[in-house]
Symmetry: D2
Subunit: 349 residues, 4 copies
């Protein structure tokens, strides 16, 4: 029976994997048991954020040296979902999810499954083809985890591709819009797979247009360093070792302190990792008062958002090691987002 | 017996005073009773933030049109303390403090006093001369308010001058350092006046060097739009109408949710305004985890800080109209800051 | 017979009109003879650049104090075309164009005419209605100058409105796109009036879509501080005092040193002012080599562009006081722009 | 007799070495003959620019795969001098310097030599110890190249270490100042080795303090990705194949078009690479007119500078692939810098 283990590790810079190396050296984690990595690097989170590619290259090289698999092969097997931008109180860190065989039996616990879509051509980004590819990958990842029912899924984390600027076949000539379309398609793909979104509403026509179409359990990042959709599913499943728990709650806006507290309450125990998504309210106001995130020429709206949302979540956690990602299109209600907390229940190993 | 009134008003842009104009038109506030304005404009908060000068010019023109006083005369009588930068969830707004005669008697209430130091030459910025000038101005403002004891002071808000770059007589050739020295000198001046800082420790040698020297009730901004130190003191005093209350609490770091909540608890009632100061921890870490505010080439450390601190305070307030100012040198403990809440007690007019 | 005079003045900050005040005091320029101001302020040039509004307010107040006209009336009579952003080698400055009666006769010289369109509703920005309004205003300004033939027009400078974010009737929900649409409509309006663009091609469908539709003599800025299209036309006309000359040349790309030199060669004499427009090449490359202006999350493409184009023009001029404005949609060939040099011919007063 | 070859290659992103890989595949360059790489990556050029580390890691991995040497060994043998920041018209690219045996004899040509100082402890950065270490390394690199006389040196390129923030032993607590001190120490070290600077003036006391102490042939970058001083010397030496030439000229300020043109005139032929250094004039003005590079809260002064200087040099070159690096402390006259052009003389292979 498999046991999921979560390690939260700090980095000195985006190429620094020494904390994980130390766990390998100590025998705490085995390189071939690493199933997924989710982390925050200190870039700007946009199209020209290369901290994600740097970290990914460094990780795959290190795993390669220990497993003997080629870095390219590893990159197609182990999702590495990174979000750039540690504005304000946030701290660069990464969560390592590893799965080991375990002697227990008959239990139900937190499960993890992964899947990779086929490579996504630039012309498919933000279109029905990407939506379907993500939806298929979510189902494959659920099967991989052994999660039988969609209601048992706690969170689906996706890293979706952001094509380089200037491709004439792309749905948008604006690189930021294309990144947003990629996130949007992935979120709708998750919502379709989890049956949160009806098939006739979850289409490319709805992307960035009808924000009433959304998933409450999708967390999507996009970046130039991936060319397909990488999917990680978390949820409860039989035949997994007990002890870990995931709590998820929606946030209605970036100031929704109660929403954040609800997610922590839903995952009692020692916090092992926190994932949050949110977005600047497109109406230009929060609770009736104008914000300035969307019209700032010098400071990107997502950098504004991560700094604010990250601080609220980190203040509740008492810890800046929070994965906060902006660009929550179709992920939670418009202007809001969601928080997911991973914790070890009291008395568990 | 005077009555202090606080109005919190929104602006569409830094030259928009229409909300105050409407109060004048309605007779709710009289222009000649405005004693101080404290506000946040949507600039970058740095040396090249001209939103503060724009707002100040617009305010003084409007007051001048109604009072008949020249704008220059008004600017030397009515402190206009602005902090640029409404990162993240913050909303551009301003607090108008007006004082009207009132029929009550024998009460003790929230009092306001103001004072202006003489013009500060560039060579005095960040030196003992500025410290003394601020200290003298604080005592003058206390006398103006009728606050008898230093322990009755809730908050001293100062706007200190930031000289333009390139003056050979300045203590530093670095404009940002000079802005910080000006805030530091003003904070130490407040601490001396309130007897929080011993006379032998509150000297120019301590500025930016010995951060164990600090005031818990000083909130300082600096900017190019002022050439002297403008001081506003709030506190309890006899012979002022009751009904308003100010609560102050220190924050030990930017994640100190309990500290923020303590300030709100200390000022029960309808919140009329919130003032917060904080700074990026100079150690490079918060609660043991590395932050990236101090080494970001693209995003100024104070913009990072305001976005994070502002969101935490705004989440507790449930409202983005919070005055948050970075650069908390010698204002609260190192790496931390303070929060001040103004509220109207239940049942008060 | 009127004589056009051009003064190039520096400012210490966006509210500093002291250099013009000094000219008024000395009697060099009369306030009621100021016909237009074109300047560069040290903002970011984007939607949240309030240095333009601050300068305009300061200018109109000063003119009002000397002419007795209300600031609002002056703002509808004297175009004040500002472009924010003095990146790199650029220096904040403004050109004051004044027209005085003069004893000469029978001459042909550099003429100036102005016109204001009616206020442009948000729903008209970037649509045929704005194109027509600008075209009409250009013809009115030519008539005002007494310029008889379109081929005698050297340059048309327009300040077009940029609506605030969030208006549901706007053609685009993206504030930057809306600013670009406003510039595009004004440029096409100029091209129609100067018969550079055929009537059936100069329509709202072409805006930002068909960049082969352009004017070689249009220079457009857009900003939130104006609500109508302000037009200034320069050209040769009979019955104007001789002595000044304007030279214009297109730039094929931002590195077109020869193009810049051609404009200076076309206006021999003492340089009085320089105006340049340009844009980041939308193909993502300049002369076959990739540039990074369009995909930078931290530094706006127009700030990139102004710093580069401004330095090239300033290096030829040997002077950083160059009006450089990005956003050259439909102004000069795609990826390029234009340069206009004003000079006093040798021997002229 | 060795022959120096220079290839100028483009990259799609900072981890893209495919152009060099193609040269290896084609047999045009042999991996074991690569002696140095100098390049520009599309980061921000500051302390948190990780594009340099990413490129370096990618380069060393690729060389390692072909030479069999460990990446760490290669990194101590092959200098990889990168400057982040391709603002404006600049294009990400790198110069590969390789040296092959050649059948010629008796010639004098462009020579290259390299040397690495011992690791520089944080406490030595910006101090006499670093100055001496660089000076020694320059002499070692000259010997490596066989350059006999200091007047035959054309350019010394150094990559100096920038320690991470927060080290208590560092000469400055300000990360930007520490980067500048490291560049300054390296430049003075070069000037001492080339006998441009007298021994009694080239001391740590002069660093960032006495800018009249400078080298006209030093080009220094600093970054967190190196921990020692990496030195590459170019110059004329006997027993090197003829055909390549290097021209160097000082720039007195960022607008010094004639200075740039002089460097190109000094290296007639097909341009193979261009290296330029410059800095924002610390007086706050260029040729008497105020610039705004040093007081911009949102846009780093070095980003301003590179965009401006890069465009001027690229306009003369007609090509955006120019290595432009800011931070020219003690490199060329104050407020100015230098330009070095590598070219292949007509008729050479």
């Amino acid at each position: 029976m498999p046991r999921l283990t979560i390690h939260r590790l700090s980095m000195a810079h985006p190429g620094d994997l020494s904390a994980l190396e130390a766990l390998f050296e100590a025998g705490t984690v085995r390189a071939d048991q690493v199933r997924a990595v989710i982390g925050k690097t200190e870039g700007n989170g946009g199209l020209n954020d290369f901290t994600r590619g740097y970290f990914t290259q460094s990780l795959m090289l290190m795993l390669s040296a220990r497993t003997g698999e080629a870095p390219g092969t590893l990159a197609r097997r182990v999702p590495c979902v990174l979000s750039g931008g540690t504005e304000g109180a946030l701290s660069p860190h990464y969560l390592v999810f590893s799965v080991a065989p375990d002697g227990g039996e008959g239990e139900t616990g937190l499960a993890l499954g992964t899947a990779f879509s086929p490579p996504t051509p630039v012309r498919d980004v933000g279109r029905d083809a990407q939506i379907r590819a993500v939806s298929d990958a979510v189902r494959a990842a659920m099967a991989d985890a052994g999660i039988a029912r969609v209601e048992d899924v706690a969170l689906v984390q996706v890293k979706a591709p952001a094509p380089p600027v200037g491709d004439p076949g792309a749905r948008s000539a604006d690189a930021k819009v294309l990144m947003a379309l990629s996130r949007a398609a992935a979120a709708v793909g998750v919502g379709l797979a989890l049956r949160e979104i009806a098939a006739d509403r979850g289409t490319e026509a709805a992307l960035l247009a009808d924000l009433s179409v959304f998933s409450n359990r999708a967390s999507i990042s996009s970046g130039v360093e991936v060319t397909c959709n990488e999917v990680v599913v978390f949820g409860r499943a039989a035949h997994w070792a007990a002890g870990l728990v995931a709590g998820v709650a929606p946030m209605r806006d970036v100031l929704d302190l109660a929403g954040v507290q609800a997610a922590f309450a839903a995952a009692p125990g020692e916090v092992l990792g926190v994932i949050a998504k949110g977005e600047p309210d497109r109406s230009g106001a929060i609770r009736g008062h104008r914000h300035t995130m969307l019209g700032d020429t010098d400071l990107d709206a997502q950098r504004h958002l991560r700094g604010a949302l990250g601080a609220v979540v980190a203040a509740v956690a008492g810890d800046g090691r929070v994965f906060v990602s902006g660009g929550a299109e179709h992920q939670g209600p418009p202007g809001g987002g969601l928080v997911c907390v991973f914790a070890r229940q009291a008395g568990s190993p």
